[in-house]
């Protein structure tokens, strides 16, 4: 299906809702642009942008009417593909009860190219291995993905270095590019279902001028990356740096708070927790997000394998940029910059990579 131009997102939101999707989109909450349910275009952060830097996030008013002129939200699609907590089973006597896997039909409106790349990484983790996760598959298949090409990258973005953006090229149902003067969106379908949704909307064919303007948005965005990483030989370079004194240096600043792993769209580690309901006599097990920065993460035989902060930071960074390739054939980093922005002490992964031998 050829690219089209749509004037408003309201019909799209309405059609998606009519088809049973909850629409989750960028929305201002406590001075941060988060992902949240919307029912109307008016809830989008019109005329707002953000300022992102190591350890710093500020909401900014803009002097325009644009709806998507900001960079990554601390929320990513991970919240929807891998819930932060879920019940695995309950045991009552000699009966095991498995709760129905929750797979809400959610349309994620405003996915960035880096977010789509992160979903592709997660797919490899949970579907590409020896033990595919049927619950992940259900949640993943219940999503409708509307990409919005990045126009204003943040100060911590480096998707160009990681080869994931700023223009969405795959993995979406619909891709939009927001244009000004007049305000409109160039829309393209990336799936049969996306094309079907698009046909249900008021639209006009895209003119060459619209397509050129959309290309210009992505070209300009690519030129405004806040950060860059030299990925040449990065897998070998990081793996070979295991005894670098730099790990101690970063550990002297790192709080091992796990924020970076919580906001990372590809970090997938989990732990389990057990409890017993004495009234009902049932034992329950839940799975929740975990982080390689916690001390208990590597505990075996009464002591942690990675007791020092340096070893834990090295594990995280080495996994992202080196051993992820061994395990899943791809980088574990998509260049979204969330870990830099939301690090309370502003540790900058791109700086740490540059400082390794």
């Amino acid at each position: 299906m050829e690219a089209v131009v749509i004037r408003s997102l309201q019909p799209l939101i309405a059609v998606l809702r009519a088809r049973g999707f909850t629409v989750a989109a960028p929305k201002i909450r406590e001075k941060v642009i988060r992902m949240d349910e919307i029912v109307s275009e008016s809830e989008l952060p019109r005329g707002h942008g953000d300022e992102q830097a190591p350890g710093r996030y500020r909401l900014r008013e803009r002097d325009d009417e644009m709806l998507f002129s900001f960079a990554a939200s601390p929320d990513s699609a991970k919240r929807y593909t891998q819930p932060s907590s879920r019940t695995l089973f309950r045991i009552r006597g000699e009966t095991v009860e498995e709760p129905e896997a929750e797979a809400p039909r959610v349309a994620l409106l405003g996915m960035r190219a880096c977010d789509l790349a992160a979903l592709a990484v997660q797919d490899r983790v949970f579907l590409g291995g020896r033990h595919p996760d049927p619950d992940y598959r259900k949640r993943r298949e219940a999503l409708f993905l509307v990409a919005v090409n990045c126009a204003v990258p943040g100060g911590t973005c480096f998707c160009v270095s990681m080869g994931t953006g700023p223009k969405a090229t795959a993995g979406y149902d619909l891709a939009l590019t927001e244009l000004a003067g007049p305000h409109r969106f160039v829309a393209e379908a990336g799936s049969a279902y996306g094309a079907e949704i698009l046909r249900a909307l008021p639209r006009v064919p895209a003119a060459q001028a619209d397509l050129d303007a959309a290309e210009e948005v992505s070209r300009t965005a690519a030129e405004h990356m806040g950060r860059r990483v030299d990925t040449e030989g990065i897998k070998e370079r990081v793996a070979g740096a295991h005894d670098s004194p730099r790990w101690q240096q970063v550990a002297s600043r790192c709080l091992t708070c796990a924020n970076c792993t919580m906001v990372c769209p590809t970090c997938f580690c989990t732990t389990v927790e057990d409890s017993t309901d004495f009234a009902e006599g049932a034992a329950e097990r839940i799975e929740r997000w975990d982080s390689c920065f916690t001390l208990g993460f590597s505990e075996a035989g009464g002591a942690p394998v990675r007791g020092s902060g340096a070893a834990r930071y090295r594990q995280w960074l080495t996994h992202k940029f080196s051993t992820w390739f061994d395990q899943f054939g791809t980088s574990g980093c998509v260049g979204c910059g969330r870990c830099i922005t939301w690090c309370p002490v502003g540790i900058d992964v791109t700086e740490e990579l540059a400082n390794l031998p």
Binding site: L88, F89, I91, E94, V96, E98, A101, V125, F126, G129, R130, H131, P132, D133, P134, D135, R137, A239, H242, D243, F268, C269, T270, T271, V272, D274, S275, T276, A283, E284, R285, E287, D290, C292, F297, S298, E299, A300, G301, G302, V305, R306, G307, S308, A310, A311, Q315, T318, H319, S322, T323, D326, Q327
Partner: protein, 305 residues
Amino acid sequence: MKAGTRQPLAEPDEPCRARAGSSPGPANGPVSDEARPMTPQLYRVRSRRADRVDTVTLRLTPVRGRCPPYRPGQFTMLYAPGVGEVPMSISGWARAGGYVHTIRAVGAVSGALCGKRPGDVVGVRGPYGTWWDIPAAAGMDVVVAAGGLGLAPLRPLVRELVRHRARYRRISVIAGTRTPTTLVYARELALWRGHGVDVQVTVDHPDHVWKGQVGLVTRLLDRIVFEPRRTFAFVCGPEAMMRATADDLVRRGVAARRVELSLERNMKCGLGWCGHCQLGPLFVCLDGPVLDYERAARLLAVEEL
């Protein structure tokens, strides 16, 4: 062992041949789409034998259905309802179709498992992981080195060697343990001696009746006979013990690729999902626990990896 407790001296082991081929590799193909791999199957404790101080051996059979086949070296995720789940090496195959696990109480979960009595129910997932490459040892001298409870995952391996004794040249089992009373499978070790296996035991701390060797298990390498270039070794115990033993074997001329270790790491899933058991590029639950020293040496040499 408690007086009056009658236990079979040894459950007949029947390591399953689920698949053809001999090299270690994935034991579990992709699961069916609807099965949820994090949900355990319920198993009933059929028998419980207290092995010395803080260790028990449980024989488990499925409450419903059949138990999947396993190969010596693999592990299960063993769940004490309401308490937690731990990876546990399989130390035998029960005749009635189930697993034998020898468990030492070192934490809340293993403590709860050790407290299980016949008739109680536990959860089992798996078996998972790689196995000892027993066929690769055919025609060779075989050295089996155990530290402490490291003997548990080696037990089904030795049974397999003994069953087909003629396939191997010399077989030596060397075992180190803290004190004479922490030695597990003492009667079985004696049984193996009668099957053409040189069994040597050393303790860290002797008591007044101990007349055997004292000191590190590596010292027993001087007391057994093997031709390094025609030797295959299986090693399991605390990591420091495994590295010392493997290094010693390699120094004596045994090829590192013919020295297999079984690693222990924190695991929450056994499936490659939870991320806890990573050792550099490896997931110990998928790529291990059994690894050859050619692959493991470089990784184990990095501190806190």
